[in-house]
């Protein structure tokens, strides 16, 4: 049994471990050479999740408590594709985020913006057969952090995606268009390829906007694709 390996990342589109502008990398980045890992059966398979674990209501972050959360309701939707433009169906997408005031519901977050008792900030979705996902949530606020003087994170939503193979596993962040903090953010600017960065920014989407209810933002996510042999291409 031979399964094609995943393609190597394109130059300058994935971050390095050591990136001193993001101070926490300094003590946590490996210093020894990495060993090239062949993609064996262990690397091209991955856990499979189902609807017994992920319920339709898990995708609506505005209906997890008694009342409505504070802030602006938004619909965040898009497609998960691989580098060969194929949709990635039936994979688990997990998201988490700050509330509208830029505060996380987490003991480590000491920012003095208020906790919203009606907002936890966690959601889950299994992509459909065409790789689509959709969340209803609140636009997260920007917030300060202590990386450097006067440091602020642009508004973002954390995304965790499983793929069909372990090598597709991806954790990333979705940003919002026109956010003036993006250019000051060491995380957003961690790769040299400007096009790659800009693919982390969602676009306003009139079609998924719900009249008199919620603005729509669209964001497609691309997971690694398998190398294709000439024979597979002809098929």
């Amino acid at each position: 049994m031979t399964l094609a390996p995943y393609r190597r990342p394109y130059w300058n589109t994935q971050p390095e471990y050591l990136f001193p502008k993001y101070a926490s990398t300094v003590k946590r980045a490996p210093s020894q050479p990495l060993i090239a890992l062949p993609h064996t059966l262990s690397e091209v398979t991955a856990p499979v999740f189902g609807h017994d674990e992920v319920k339709p209501g898990d995708a609506d972050l505005t209906r997890q408590h008694k009342g409505e959360p504070q802030g602006e309701r938004i619909v965040v939707s898009g497609r998960v594709l691989d580098e060969n433009s194929r949709p990635v169906p039936n994979i688990l997408v997990e998201i988490w985020q700050a509330n509208a005031g830029g505060r996380y519901n987490h003991r480590v977050d000491q920012h003095d913006a208020p906790i919203d008792p009606n907002f936890t900030g966690a959601g889950r979705f299994l992509t459909d057969k065409d790789g689509h996902y959709r969340f209803m949530t609140i636009r997260p606020g920007e917030y300060p952090w202590r990386n450097h003087h006067n440091a602020w994170r642009p508004a973002h939503i954390h995304f965790s995606l499983f793929g069909q193979g372990l090598m597709q596993r991806l954790i990333t962040q979705m940003y919002f268009p026109g956010d003036p903090l993006l250019d000051y953010d060491p995380m957003f600017t961690c790769v040299a390829d400007e096009k790659a960065r800009n693919r982390l920014v969602s676009t306003f989407d009139w079609e998924t906007t719900l009249p008199e209810y919620a603005l729509g933002y669209r964001w497609d996510i691309v997971l690694r694709g398998r190398e294709e042999t000439p024979r597979e291409k002809r098929r």
Binding site: Y22, R28, E43, N84, S85, H158, L166, I171, M187, G225
Partner: protein, 186 residues
């Protein structure tokens, strides 16, 4: 059409909000075949300080050496109650744990069998992309012929092999410095 994979970003310090609902430290319910193993470890940074905000994920085959995945077409038994996925979020001591079964051998490059191993993926604040490594089992003769361990310089291989301590297997992850764990370019 060719696309380029989305850029990885750090999991950040607030991972528990999104990931704690599915913390899976006990992978093998009663009835799953195989030798039971209890794995205990800690994550340390360059200063030897415990990392209290890591997500450690595990992916493994069952005791027959088969993955619960449609692309594994080997003629070996599948067990409906064993998925082979674990997720442990480190505590204030940097500690993570898994109770599972020792996997069987799965094919590697050129069809040569690999030694039993766990694929380990690590996320944390301060990592802009995950670290990928493996844990192997102590005193397993197959380690000597494992095609992936063979790629690792001999003096560093021990960082990938757990140590037996009473009834548990101890395996810690050192991010940087003396005894730095071997991480893979994946």
């Amino acid at each position: 059409m060719s696309l380029r994979a989305s850029t990885s970003q750090t999991i950040g310090p607030y991972l528990r909000i999104g990931l704690e609902w599915m913390q899976i430290e006990d992978l093998a319910p009663k009835g799953v075949a195989g030798e039971r193993v209890s794995i205990r470890g800690r994550v340390f940074d360059a200063d030897g300080k415990p990392v209290n905000d890591a997500a450690v994920e595990l992916w493994q085959a069952n005791s027959h050496g088969r993955y619960a995945h449609p692309d594994d077409k080997q003629d070996k038994p599948v067990e409906a109650t064993f998925r082979g996925y674990g997720r442990s979020l480190s505590d204030d001591n940097g500690a993570f744990r898994f109770n599972t079964i020792k996997p069987g051998r799965v094919p590697g490059p050129g069809g040569k069998l690999q030694a039993p191993h766990l694929s380990i993926t690590i996320f944390m604040r301060g990592l802009l992309k995950q670290l990928q490594t493996r844990m192997y089992f102590p005193d397993d003769a197959a380690n000597a012929e494992d095609p992936v361990l063979a790629l690792v310089p001999a003096e560093r291989r021990s960082t990938l092999i757990a140590r037996r301590s009473g009834d548990t297997l101890e395996w810690s992850i050192v991010l940087q410095g003396d005894n730095e764990t071997v991480f893979f370019d994946f």
